[in-house]
């Protein structure tokens, strides 16, 4: 069955998805503004920017990662990338004592953490190479377990270093959807911008990479370099999203699969933006519904984990057939 060669259908689809995301954003911004509207608009704009950045980071990193690892089930967060970020954050913040909490600019800490993440991606790269030789279920199980280990170690360290204020510090240090770290928005936008430029330039490389390692090399792609750049992108993007809203294990998986289904093409020039629009729509609409309908009693990430977990269960049991 031939792919449609003209790009009309995917383009229409992209326009539609973009419109959907805009509607969600507009609704989030304007519905129920109240008398003090200028204040509310400012606050909501900031929140939308954060959600879009997170959506962008998670969607892009997941798809790029799935392309270079040639699978559609594993994602960076299933393999424990964001748990790793939290561990680095714990070690740095507590390791320097509380001085770092109050005196060091959070943006500098953030850059430092991102730097370490990128460095560690070399290790993860080796693990991934191993992974391609092993079977998927082994890698998935080991990755999940690794994530649990990293989270347990973080939790353990947090308690050892400050047992009295464990809960308070945990709330203040680690972000969530209800507690977006707004002071990092600017620097996150810059990082994402740079990453996007690189990513957009290698969109065709990604199409080639998706054909598999051997084919890609045969077609004349500098495979090692392309994968390294892609991994660099992934680690930066994961750092951004985890720093802004904390770990969200299954969102990437959910979004990537919706994008594969809806985009109707294998070309990354379409899949990537489609995924970003879908992710933005889900996050903004989800936050809208939660804030206004459920009056904020639930965190968005819980609902995402619920549905994402079911999708993962479905994929992994079907894949085994």
């Amino acid at each position: 069955m031939a792919e449609p060669t003209d790009s009309r259908r995917p383009t229409t689809m992209l326009v539609f998805l973009a419109a959907l995301a805009s509607v969600a954003a507009l609704a989030f911004l304007t519905v129920d503004l109240g008398p003090n509207w200028s204040y509310a608009v400012g606050l909501r704009t900031q929140k939308i920017v954060a959600l879009v950045l997170v959506a962008y980071a998670i969607a892009t990193s997941t798809i790029v990662f799935q392309t270079i690892t040639e699978n559609r089930i594993l994602t960076p967060s299933i393999l424990g990338f964001d748990a790793f970020y939290i561990l680095i954050q714990t070690v740095l913040a507590y390791g320097f004592g509380h001085l770092s909490m109050s005196h060091v600019d959070p943006r500098i800490l953030f850059l430092l953490q991102t730097g370490i993440m990128v460095g560690a991606s070399v290790l993860i790269y080796r693990w991934m190479l191993d992974g391609r030789k092993r079977d998927l279920q082994f890698v998935a199980l080991a990755g999940l377990m690794f994530g649990i280990l990293l989270r347990s170690v973080s939790n353990f360290l947090q308690r050892v270093i400050d047992p009295g204020e464990f809960a308070v510090l945990q709330d203040r240090m680690f972000a969530s959807f209800n507690l977006v770290h707004a002071d990092l928005l600017g620097i996150s936008a810059v990082l994402i911008g740079v990453a996007s430029l690189i990513g957009w330039r290698m969109r065709s490389d990604l199409d080639v990479l998706a054909l598999g390692r051997d084919t890609a090399i045969n077609l004349g792609l500098d495979y090692t370099r392309a994968v390294r750049v892609a991994l660099f992108l992934v680690s930066v993007l994961v750092s951004v999203s985890t720093a802004l809203v904390g770990p969200v294990t299954f969102f990437g998986l959910l979004v990537a699969h919706l994008a594969y289904r809806i985009a109707g093409t294998h070309r990354h020039a379409f899949i990537l933006p489609a995924a970003v629009f879908i992710a933005s729509t889900i996050l903004i609409a989800g936050q809208f519904i939660l804030e206004r309908l459920f009056a904020f009693t639930t965190s968005l990430s819980i609902i995402i984990e619920f549905f994402g977990g079911i999708v993962f269960l479905f994929l992994i049991t079907r894949r085994a057939a």
Binding site: F156, S299, I303, G309, F312, L313
Partner: protein, 329 residues
């Protein structure tokens, strides 16, 4: 080597193991926010020491031994029934379902006595485990690693549902409490439920052979004269009972049911009759040891048991996984 000779060596090691446990029990009685001396223990002179000992240390130590031994046995029952080394209450959605049941019981009928809440939790744990088996049934090819993977995911989904409900009704604190094993709140009168789980675990020892047979599958086990369905239900029922009573009294204690039976099997093989006492003993030693570490590391504060078991358990799980992978290539 004759069987009786091998047997006597096994008995000798077992006695050494018991002595090790006894030593840990002694340490556990003395160590904590307030350190008691052996003299306090023997003389019983000091009123304060006696109060600490009998209302806190003794109950705590007993509950650690009971919880450790019975969780380890629960894990090994699950491994026998599923013939999979990586299944335990924490990797099959059983713990999460037990927590879920406890949450529902607390929300629907807050006035119920603890025992009644636990019964609801047992039912929920059993249903959760059956759901786990049903999901597995759907997957046509049962790779050994798929089983714990599905269980972990299912646990995550159930946990997300529980967290959602807990958020809505503002009982997140209780949920976190049930999800993390912590023995620092154990006092006399608040832990006795654990005896129930221990009795269930001992009952499991009596009929352990049947679990092994049931693990061979419906056809073979029926051929050998074992009622497959009944054995499965009894086995899973015991697992649910143990898990729910541990969750209801001290919170979830994951990984013990996985790590301990695997270590025992590596050390002495798969003979269930011989393995079960060892599993119980090592389970108690493991949990007791972890708790003592948690009590002494940042005195006078404590690190909850769940936190320490989480680190050690997941690390050992990874080692076991690596071992299994290198064996099967």
């Amino acid at each position: 080597m004759s069987a009786s000779f091998a047997g006597s060596i096994a008995v000798k090691y077992f006695i050494i193991g018991i002595c090790g446990l006894a030593a840990l029990v002694l340490v556990s009685l003395l160590v904590g926010a307030v350190t008691l001396s052996p003299h306090d223990l023997l003389s019983g002179q000091s009123e304060k020491a006696r109060l600490i000992l009998f209302s806190s240390r003794v109950p705590r130590t007993i509950s650690l031994v009971l919880a450790g031994a019975s969780m380890a046995i629960a894990g090994s029952i699950m491994q026998m029934l599923s013939r999979n080394r990586f299944v335990e209450p924490g990797t099959s959605g059983t713990i999460e379902s037990a927590v879920f049941g406890l949450l529902l019981a607390t929300l629907i009928a807050p006035g119920l006595p603890v025992f009644a809440k636990m019964l609801l939790s047992v039912t929920s744990a059993l249903l959760g485990t059956v759901l786990f088996l049903a999901v597995l049934e759907r997957a046509p090819l049962r790779s050994p690693l798929l089983v714990p993977l599905v269980g972990l995911m299912l646990g995550g989904v159930i946990n997300a549902a529980a967290t959602f409900i807990a958020y809505r009704f503002d009982v997140l604190q209780s949920l976190v409490g049930w999800s993390t094993g912590d023995f620092s709140m154990v006092l006399r009168g608040r832990y006795e439920l654990l005896w129930v789980s221990f009795v269930a675990a001992v009952a499991a020892y009596v009929i352990a052979d049947r679990f092994t047979l049931a693990g061979l599958g419906q056809d073979i086990s029926s051929n050998l004269g074992v009622n497959y369905r009944r054995t499965m239900i009894v086995g899973l029922g015991i697992v649910a009972l143990v898990t729910a009573s541990v969750v209801a009294t001290v919170g979830a204690v994951p990984f013990v049911g996985l790590v301990v039976p695997n270590v025992v099997s590596i050390a002495i093989g798969d003979n269930v009759r011989r393995a079960v006492p060892w599993t119980a003993l090592l389970g108690a030693v493991f949990v007791l040891g972890c708790d003592i570490v948690g009590r002494t590391m940042i005195r006078p504060y404590e690190i909850p048991l769940g936190s320490i078991v989480g680190v050690l358990g997941s690390a050992i799980f990874l080692l076991l996984l690596k071992r299994a992978a290198s064996r099967y290539g």
